[in-house]
């Protein structure tokens, strides 16, 4: 349980710069000089298998993740209090994220690691229970929490805080916010096709960009997986040299020793690819994060379109109502209406009826004006806030991806060095033949 007297705002610690337990570099996502209060150190420490009955009373196995939190000031002071911890499963993370994207439609909400393993090259397991997959997911979930908790807007959310501190009763709290209803309408809106007359040009460009980003990252992930597959094949076939050199050395006198040793190096070469490709998965995970981020970006742009559309609809509605009033007041029918037709056919209505109708229209117009005002504000607010977050996202993306590329290059260099080492060793053996 969390300590009492804790303020609601959260922060993360710059430990994200350090290498994690598995030796991988965490993304530096916390900007220097951010305005977050560093209140809490967060990490997803472990993963465990559980069994239980699910919603339809069927036995299932699932994985839970241990979230540990510690007050930042204690860490800073050098005290090492035991962390508070609770267990969460993936579906709860999903719930949290869904709540966030509905509640903050102007924020590019950080994505979760993938639900199922995709873009796998054939030797990599696609099994959700595979320990490597679980480990990578643990890292991804931690990454998610750190990103959210360091976000200038999201980090202040209460539901997020409870997610990290209240193991039981959190779900109920989420549903109590009534976000579910908003979630449903959002989904409907996002998938609907509607024509917007004047969308903001910048947002349209950004939406186009998000499509590009999605397309390119997924292409890259696919291509990388294929490359990994082939590279695996090349390395493994060299293992056959190991065997044949060993067999050959048996019938040779002077050449025997050299051949035998060289064979061992070939075996080592073939075996080395497993670790190399395992490490490369980290790069793939970084790409995947931005593949999913692209979707989040697109959603924000779509939300803009939606607000713009609603404003346009409301304005349109108001205009047509005002026109109707005008017609009613002046008797001049400019637009075709059923009333107009019936009037012509059956004669004008009585003045009392006209008055009633006029009054109704006035009310509707007043409502309409309110609506237009609301929608205008909604749209403007969304544009303003979203644009700020989009800029933030852009900078973060550029930084993160550049770093990911550097990481990748470093891995490649390491692979080359290993290759040189093995083949130089083999050459030494050949020279001794």
């Amino acid at each position: 349980m969390a300590d009492d007297g804790r303020e609601e705002s959260l922060g993360t610690d710059d430990d994200s710069d350090q290498t994690g337990a598995d030796g991988s570099l965490n993304n530096t996502m916390v900007e220097e000089g951010s305005t977050l209060m560093r209140r809490m150190e967060i990490c997803v420490a472990e993963a465990e298998k559980r069994s239980g009955k699910n919603a339809v009373s069927m036995q299932e196995t699932y994985t839970v993740y241990l979230i540990e939190t510690r007050p930042m000031d204690a860490v800073a002071e050098g005290r090492n209090p035991a962390p508070d911890c609770l267990w969460r499963r993936y579906s709860e993370f999903e719930l949290l994220r869904n709540y966030l994207i509905v509640t903050y439609p102007y924020i590019v909400v950080p994505p979760l690691p993938e639900k199922r393993a995709e873009f796998v090259w054939h030797k990599l397991s696609a099994d959700n229970m595979d320990p490597d997959f679980v480990e990578r997911r643990r890292v991804g979930l931690e990454n998610f929490l750190l990103r959210v908790a360091s976000h200038p807007v999201l980090s202040n959310d209460k539901i997020l805080y409870y997610f990290l501190t209240e193991e039981h009763g959190w779900k109920e709290a989420v549903y109590e916010t009534g976000f579910q209803a908003k979630a449903d309408s959002r989904l409907r809106a996002l998938s609907a096709t509607f024509r917007v007359r004047n969308p903001d040009k910048c947002f349209m460009e950004m939406k186009h960009y998000s499509d590009e980003l999605q397309s390119h990252t997924s292409q890259l992930l696919r291509a990388r997986a294929r490359v990994a597959d082939r590279l695996y094949g090349v390395y493994k076939v060299h293992g056959n040299y190991g065997r044949v050199f060993s067999e050959w050395s048996a019938i040779e006198k002077e050449m025997g020793d050299g051949l035998q040793s060289a064979g061992h190096h070939m075996d080592a070469y073939a075996a080395s690819i497993d670790d190399i490709l395992e490490e490369e998965e980290h790069y793939a995970d970084q790409l995947k994060e931005y593949l999913f981020y692209a979707e989040a970006l697109r959603a924000v742009c779509r939300k803009h379109e939606l607000t713009q559309f609603e404003l346009e609809m409301a304005s349109q509605d108001l205009i047509s109502k005002k026109q109707q009033r005008e017609e009613l007041a002046t008797g001049i029918v400019r637009t075709f209406s059923l009333k107009g037709m019936t009037n012509k056919l059956f004669g004008q209505e009585a003045p009392e009826q006209r008055e009633a109708r006029l009054k109704l229209l006035e009310d509707l117009i007043a409502e309409g004006e309110e609506t237009v005002k609301e929608k205008t504000i909604e749209r403007a607010e969304h544009v303003e806030k979203a644009w700020v977050d989009i800029q933030r996202f852009k900078e973060q993306k550029d930084k993160d991806l550049r770093e990911a590329l550097i990481n990748y290059a470093v891995m490649q260099i390491s692979m080359c060095k290993k290759g040189i080492q093995v083949w130089s060793n083999a050459k030494e053996c050949f020279l001794k033949m």
């Binding site: 490359v227 050949f430 020279l431």
Partner: protein, 449 residues
């Protein structure tokens, strides 16, 4: 007669023609044998001294062996130079180069320039330059096989190529074939007996290789006369030749496996290359939609392309240099097996005749005919030559494979070095704008070291 200590000659690794001093110039130095070259002699005189074949006493047997040998090789010129004369200095250098295409109405073919430099008196001139086509090399090989049946003749590259599958006139094919032909001639020129063969002389010096069909026919007849032993069956092969036979079989098998592995690697590398190219283009197309990341992504694409080039180079090298040599040795093993079979034949013939003669002697005291002795000499000659050639072959094989495999290792090292250089220079580009974020810069450099 003057005989000096026999000297094994180093394997094909002669200096290029341009570097060889004229044999008559004062500064010529003798080629010294490498440390692991076994001293051997294809000369029967030394047979008893160096490789311990069952010859009782060196002097008388060797004289008769020499005499018989001259008789056995019927088409040898009687005044052929004494093969046991002193050839301390390496005095015959041949090179094959300069392929050219010839187009005539009947056919299209390639000729190669065969250049010779020599100080041997068997040759009229110190230098020759002739053009020969594959057919001519084939002719030479057949002639050598027929005239020197007890010796191992180096193999030629494959004669038949499937038209439509392999382009006989492509640069790579011609290059590979030329290297094999060069090796072929060098191995013969290195051989203490084969290099004195008059057919070789003709091949190297005659303007027009008059292939003299008539003589070819004669040779064929001569061959069949020699292999009258067809009816005899070998009972027991001496243990040393058994070991030889077994070795050849196993070695053949291993080489076959290595060939298959090498081919498989080339195939895998080619598929890897295809995917890698695609991978590079994805980075390039992504760069098009980015601003800040445009240069880094273009850099990635460029780097991947560089790696593709390096891989292509290595694969090409392996297919042009590595595989042909392997295949050559497989052919060499076949030749060796043939010689071994012929040796078995000559032993079978001798034993057969001896047995018959002994029986007859027991019956009616008929003395053992001279023929039987001839057979024995022939067999012993065969054994000696084969052993000598075997030793040379083993030592050459060791050199060749050492060279082949270190070459393979070198190519791989070069490939990785090229790739490493490309990635390292990319990191500089990528880190270009990272002056602000010093922390990640530092930690990454640390990892790199």
């Amino acid at each position: 007669m003057s005989i000096s200590a026999p000297r094994g000659l180093a394997s094909s690794g002669q200096k290029p023609i341009t570097e060889i001093l004229h044999p008559l110039s004062a500064a010529e130095e003798p080629l010294s044998p490498g440390p692991d070259v076994t001293v051997s002699g294809g000369r029967d005189k030394e047979v008893g001294l160096t490789n311990g074949t069952p010859v009782e006493t060196p002097s008388p047997a060797s004289a008769s062996v020499l005499f018989n040998r001259l008789h056995l090789d019927d088409d040898l010129d009687p005044d052929t130079r004494d093969p046991y004369a002193d050839t301390e200095t390496h005095d015959l250098f041949v090179t094959v180069d300069d392929p050219k295409k010839h187009v005539s109405t009947m056919e299209t073919y390639i000729t190669y320039r065969v250049s010779t430099k020599t100080s041997r008196i068997e040759f009229d001139l110190p230098e020759y330059s002739v053009r020969r086509r594959y057919q001519d090399f084939d002719w030479l090989r057949t002639k050598l096989e027929d005239s020197q049946p007890t010796h191992l003749i180096p193999p030629l590259p494959e004669k038949f190529v499937m038209k439509g599958v392999v382009d006989r006139f492509s640069e790579e094919f011609v290059e590979t074939r030329m290297k094999a032909l060069d090796k072929f001639l060098k191995r013969i020129a290195d051989h203490p007996v084969l290099s004195f063969n008059p057919h070789l002389n003709a091949f190297l010096s005659a303007k027009d290789l008059n292939k003299r069909q008539g003589l070819a026919l004669l040779t064929k007849v001569g061959e069949s006369v020699k292999s009258v032993a067809g009816g005899y069956k070998l009972r027991v092969r001496p243990p040393e030749f058994c070991a030889l036979g077994e070795y050849l079989d196993t070695f053949n098998q291993k080489l076959g496996t290595i060939d298959r592995i090498a081919q498989r690697i080339l195939k895998e590398q080619s598929e890897y290359l295809t995917e890698l190219r695609e991978y590079g283009t994805v980075y390039a197309s992504w760069a098009g939609s980015e601003e800040e990341l445009q240069r880094p992504l273009e850099g990635m694409a460029g780097c991947v392309t560089t790696c593709c080039g390096a891989l292509e180079d290595m694969s090409e090298n392996m297919s042009q240099d590595f595989l042909p040599v392997l295949r050559e040795y497989i052919l060499y093993i076949e030749s060796m097996k043939n010689v071994l079979r012929k040796r078995d034949q000559s032993q079978a013939e001798y034993e057969g005749r001896l047995e018959a003669a002994v029986l007859r002697k027991q019956e009616d005291r008929t003395p053992i005919p001279a023929e039987v002795e001839k057979c024995q000499d022939k067999m012993e000659c065969f054994n000696a030559d084969l052993k000598a050639d075997w030793e040379r072959w083993q030592s050459n094989k060791r050199q060749d494979f050492k060279q082949l495999l270190t070459g393979m290792a070198d190519k791989n090292v070069t490939y990785y070095e090229k790739c490493q250089a490309a990635w390292e220079s990319l990191i500089t580009v990528l880190q270009d704008k990272q002056t602000e974020d010093k922390t990640s810069c530092k930690s990454l450099w640390e990892i790199q070291q």
